[in-house]
Symmetry: C2
Subunit: 369 residues, 2 copies
């Protein structure tokens, strides 16, 4: 795709998330995207690796924060350090991807951007690349916006959904509307309906399209981002970023751009959905990671990372430790041991680990967060 005669493709990787749900493994300076949860590469290393066949290394942009900029640069040696940008404060996805769009537009009026989370699992890399090829080709055309729809496998209430309508002339789906995180009954209805997809946060559009959309829907922020982009490459950039970026609206690109655009109506909004064919998992909790590692379960459904272990009458536990682990007469637990902390909870309630981080934040126990 990088070799298309009409446009160049620019992956913009959002890597500012803290990922508290993998505490105690994840920390402020070692967020989820920096952890090797799916392979011996970290999540962000995998993200870059699967995009490198689609774009030149110099075309990558990474938007992160001050805590993570250096560790991310250390993990991503192939990328240009200057294109790993730390937001002075988190402002959600609209200013982040918007800044990338303004920056690119100055150098490449035909640039096509892909917005990618840095901490999701993709199972089939070939299919992922094929889906992105299709998406970018559509996005290069006019003012089209393409969103990747993840085919839902359960009535999940933790994600936003995309309601798809008819097939377009390109053979992809027209987006009818975006919906917020649903309640359980609505999620069940969505799952049954068959034309709803999870919004996994992957958008593809041209820099021109995105800039125009921001100017239309988020004019104040668009103006600020344009000023910041104008200073890029000069000595004033850091100062300008530090001063203006915090004034940007704190809003997701879905909410700021995609939703209002979709209100123009199916077929008129120019928003298209490509159902992901590649297999996706956002690994949102220890429990999700346990399920993702089904292939590593012993005959009683235990996933134990320790090389040496002994399990007796123990079923369906996820135990993360380098030490010798003995699990006896316990079911459904999550136990995670690091150099300085020991978490003991259950697969059923592992999302509550965020409350531990909240406690540590409140108590200002900084070395543990």
């Amino acid at each position: 795709m990088a070799r298309s005669k009409n446009f160049n493709f620019y992956p913009v990787i959002l890597a500012g998330g803290r990922g508290t749900r993998f505490w105690p493994l994840s920390r402020k300076r070692k967020a989820k995207q920096l952890l090797p949860l799916n392979s011996n590469q970290s999540m962000i290393q995998e993200t870059v690796a699967r995009l490198l066949p689609l774009a030149k290394a110099k075309n990558f942009w990474v938007i992160t924060n001050d805590d993570l900029r250096v560790p991310i640069a250390q993990q991503l040696k192939k990328l240009n350090k200057k294109q790993i940008i730390a937001e002075p404060v988190g402002r959600n996805t609209a200013p982040a991807i918007g800044l990338a769009a303004f920056l690119l537009l100055r150098e490449d009026p035909a640039a096509v951007l892909g917005l990618f989370p840095s901490d999701h699992v993709v199972l089939d890399l070939d299919r992922f690349q094929a889906d992105m090829h299709r998406a970018a080709a559509i996005a290069a055309n006019g003012e089209n916006i393409v969103v990747i729809g993840i085919p839902p496998t359960r009535a999940e209430t933790g994600y936003g959904y995309i309601e798809a309508g008819a097939k377009s002339k390109d053979g992809v789906l027209q987006v009818r509307r975006f919906t917020e995180k649903p309640d359980a009954a609505t999620a069940a209805k969505f799952l049954k309906a068959g034309n709803y997809y999870w919004n996994g946060g992957i958008f593809i559009w041209s820099a021109r399209t995105l800039v125009n959309a921001l100017r239309e829907h988020l004019p104040k922020t668009a103006a600020l981002l344009e000023l910041i982009a104008a200073s890029y490459g000069t000595k004033k950039f850091a100062k300008t970023l530090a001063k203006l970026y915090p004034q940007c609206e704190n809003i997701s690109v879905d909410y700021a751009v995609a939703e209002p655009r979709s209100a123009k109506g199916e077929g008129k909004s120019g928003i298209y959905c490509i159902p992901a064919s590649f297999g996706w998992n956002d690994l949102g909790s220890w429990t999700a990671l346990y399920e993702h590692r089904a292939g590593q379960q012993d005959e009683n459904g235990n996933v134990i990372t320790a090389k040496n272990r002994f399990a007796l009458n123990a079923k369906g536990n996820f135990i993360y430790s380098d030490k010798f682990v003995a699990a006896v007469d316990v079911d459904g637990l999550v136990v995670v041991e690091t150099d300085d902390a020991l978490l003991i909870t259950t697969l059923k309630n592992s999302q509550d680990v965020g409350k531990v981080v909240k406690y540590l934040d409140e108590k200002r126990i900084k070395k543990l967060v």
Copy 2:
């Protein structure tokens, strides 16, 4: 008591036990008696400390094994190293206390011995010492044997019981018989009856009485022990001990001496029981230790040794770790973390930890046992 005009008191401390039920904290070279489970002193240090008001330091004998001799000597600086004896092989309590009796008889014909486990908790030291004074005074008389009876607080099936009869002229109880570990129904009957006591393994008798009893009931072993004792203080001692001790019968002093003596009948056997007034706990498992530490429980019944911790919807857990501990949505667990191992089990089944040690023994994973 050491100052009695008629006899000297000699504590013989049995410290050869492995205490696998406190794995992974306990190891072959750091058995339960070496662990500070009840205070900042180890169990054997506490044992010695509560006996020091009753006997001169030079009167103490400790019988242990090769793995523990050096670590015990390091913990018990006040005692004479030569009186910390390592059995070449474990032969249960009869040969151990018997050897001490033969050794003492050579130097002090009026010696009174007390047999003490090295890994039990005593709550009231003054009462303990008063009980021992009474016991030693009775044991110094004729061929009397005194056993300390622990008033039972539950229908425990893990201990032997002492059935007491009438009061003797000394105001202590005559022993009717010793019984093996009972089944649950029998234990309940014993508890209800009121005249049954747990046999906590504390016996007091004169060296003369014990030697005579061994010669009568265990003649082969008595002859071997006499030969070993005769070599004590010579260059041949180590070799003689190594050669002859393994030939001794592997039998408890209860079974070898106390039970056959008691068969002579209440009032004729000369066996007396002093009900312990001092509060006793043998800390036989992580669960027993958890219960013993009731005073350290938080408002939800958690005992967490970590200085810093966060418990949320967590009830009745025992967590042993130096790290920051987060326990969320878990009940009734035992989690013990050491430098090289992590145990996860339940308060209900913590005695099963012995099976972990069995596994490690079988797999010859020596560094973990």
